[in-house]
């Protein structure tokens, strides 16, 4: 200011200079806000597109087509000797009962080939459904009931409109003859769409109408539970030691660099490591939640450690001094004061790590989780698969009905991921403290 005056320039008040530049500054600010807002809108748009696509493809999977059949539980077919022994009931030819029912509805179908096509309209699982009914209530033998039977996946697709009835017959999986039968059944009210409980209660299957995600869900549950059990204590302990107790020297620097590197290692590498070490050396049974959890723990540990260290760093040193000042030991200082304050941050990091683990596929392919496992896993060491791998497997299947099941499984996985991330946010809100 002195210089300006000395140079003889007309005295200009600061406020004038500021006012002159103000318009430009505000314009810059508006542009920046607009850019930010459009970035957010673009992001949301793609998320909405993704969701619309998945939901649009998948929502029909939550319904399943059933066909009503008059079933005569013929004693001469089920139990010709009248012993009612469980073994006899178990072995009886229930498929014959279904064929019998179909003959009743379509008495005009005599041709051998047509009969077979007719039989294929009903899911192959229906015979065992009838068997279960009879075993549960042997008094059914000798009676005639109208029974809702699961339709085959092709019929299901046709009823749901995924097969274009106006397309030329040769391009269709379901031929004109079958379409005619289905239309007749529909007009008689013998076709109904119900909520697809099988999808949530069954393991996977080669038959789309019998395939469910229960096995994968349980597998994911066991795997995540173990992963949490392994990685949370180890991760928090490692972070606590590195941040609060370890001397700061070249070794701890090296460890820190390595942890940060591990967080960026492609997950499939952890799968290879798990295959070589856990399965190869330690002989952990393959394709079990146990080995999957070990691999996923390795993968999530860096995330948890980094988040936990950041949480510990954010606890003000004055709290540590206060505790040490009244004579708390270093461990007491950590456990009583620092850890509770850092816990929300640690939990958030852990949940984000768990969400990562829940959605992880690649390393699990390496350790045999890709095996086709129909049974719902009953424990940590029973063979199983997990949700993302199940999605991967179904996405690979040629049947049209698996397309909607894939999308439905993705919806379930997304629901769990959103739930977990929401929990992380809520936890942070709930425990956020000021000091």
């Amino acid at each position: 200011m002195n210089n300006a005056r000395a140079a003889g320039a007309p005295p200009q008040r600061t406020i004038d200079i500021v006012n002159a530049s103000l318009k430009r500054r505000y314009a810059k600010e508006r542009r920046f806000r607009l850019l930010g807002a459009s970035a957010v809108v673009l992001g949301l748009l793609f998320v909405a597109l993704l969701f619309a696509d998945i939901v649009g493809k998948g929502y029909t999977a939550f319904q399943q087509t059933y066909i009503q059949m008059p079933i005569t539980f013929d004693a001469s077919v089920i139990d010709p000797e009248g012993t009612r022994s469980p073994e006899t009931l178990q072995r009886a030819n229930y498929a014959a009962l279904i064929r019998q029912g179909q003959r009743e509805i379509f008495p005009d179908v005599k041709d051998r080939r047509a009969t077979r096509t007719l039989a294929s309209m009903i899911s192959v699982g229906s015979a065992s459904h009838l068997r279960d009914m009879v075993i549960a209530d042997p008094d059914l033998i000798g009676t005639t009931r109208e029974v809702w039977l699961l339709a085959d996946d092709d019929i299901d697709m046709l009823v749901k409109g995924h097969i274009d009835r106006s397309a030329p017959e040769s391009d269709r999986r379901v031929k004109d003859q079958t379409v005619g039968w289905v239309e007749r059944l529909e007009s008689e009210g013998r076709i109904e769409k119900r909520f697809n409980t099988i999808f949530f209660t069954h393991g996977t299957s080669r038959e789309p109408e019998l395939a469910g995600i229960a096995g994968a869900l349980m597998g994911s549950f066991y795997t995540l539970a173990l992963t949490l059990l392994f990685s949370f204590p180890i991760g928090v302990g490692a972070a606590l030691y590195l941040e609060e107790f370890a001397p700061k020297n070249r070794w701890t620097d090296l460890i820190e660099v390595n942890i940060n590197n591990l967080a960026a290692v492609p997950s499939i590498v952890f799968g290879l490591l798990g295959l070589a070490v856990f399965i190869g050396i330690f002989g952990v049974p393959r394709s079990t939640p146990l080995v999957a959890a070990l691999v996923l723990s390795l993968m999530t540990l860096p995330t948890i450690i980094i988040a936990s260290r950041a949480a510990l760093k954010s606890v003000p040193p004055s709290i540590r001094e206060a505790a040490l000042g009244v004579g708390a030991s270093p461990l007491q200082t950590q456990l009583h004061h620092v850890l509770p304050l850092a816990m929300p941050g640690m939990l958030t990091g852990t949940i984000i790590g768990m969400a990562q683990a829940l959605g992880e596929t690649a390393p699990l392919l390496m350790i045999g989780m890709i095996a086709f496992i129909v049974d719902i896993p009953s424990g940590f060491t029973s063979p199983s698969t997990v949700l993302p791998v199940q999605i991967f497997l179904w996405a690979d299947s040629p049947e049209r009905a698996f397309v909607e099941r894939t999308s439905a499984a993705i919806m379930v996985l997304l629901a769990f991921l959103i739930l977990m991330n929401l929990t992380a946010v809520l936890l942070r809100r709930r425990f956020e403290r000021r000091w």
Binding site: G325, V326, G327
Partner: protein, 287 residues
Amino acid sequence: MSTTVDEMSRRTGAMSSAELAGERESRATVGDVTVANPRMVCRGVDVWYGAKQAIKGVSLDIGKNEVVSMIGPSGCGKSTFLRCLNRMNDTIDGCRVTGSIQLDGRDIYDKGLDPVPLRAQVGMVFQKPNPFPKSIYENVAYGPRIHGLTNNKAELDELVSASLQKAGLWNEVKDRLDQPGTGLSGGQQQRLCIARTIAVSPEVILMDEPCSALDPIATAIIEELIDELRANYSIAIVTHSMQQAARVSQRTAYFHLGDLIEVGETNQIFTNPKHRLTEDYITGRFG
């Protein structure tokens, strides 16, 4: 002239203003560092932060039932010295302490001595009030609880209320002991920290600029409190305010660039300083 010296000393830090002024005066401590009945005895204490020496051969006694104030310009090492007295410097990486500091005749830097019980004997109040983010009751009860000073809940309640009373906070908080200590005003928080410190019945209380974050009214209350606490405790207080040092302490130590320049009766230091640096500081010529 004096401004130049002042600026230079601030800029260079390591060199004393006296040297820059061309005067080679002694930096040995002037005045008697000993007292008749010492609680803590420090002899030839050196402190290094890495390669930098922060305290140079300081000797000082802290007597029973007295308040010793430590004054000096920023960075003179008074806080560093204070933090040696309960080994709080242990938590700082690269900090090294040599010399001897004794509490009741025992060297507190002895290899076999555990700093944890030491800190129960030598309590500390910090510059910024730092109550735990817990209830008022828990703040005061924490020390006695971890040291097992009380046998049951009734005794603990008694101790908490006695400590709060001694800290002059009881009447203000007795109806809301379960509320967070962080919800109190700054002055109340600092008194809560004092209550927390005296709840473990230390022998010495170290105060590191306890009033620098407080307004004059809260400061007055705390100064009054310090005067009352003198009856039972030895107190060492670091302060930036010479008026405060004059008001609360019996003896005053003037630090300058890591040296203890002068020690003496507070009256004598403020009315008749013997060392030129002390005189410059208290007359406001620098610092």
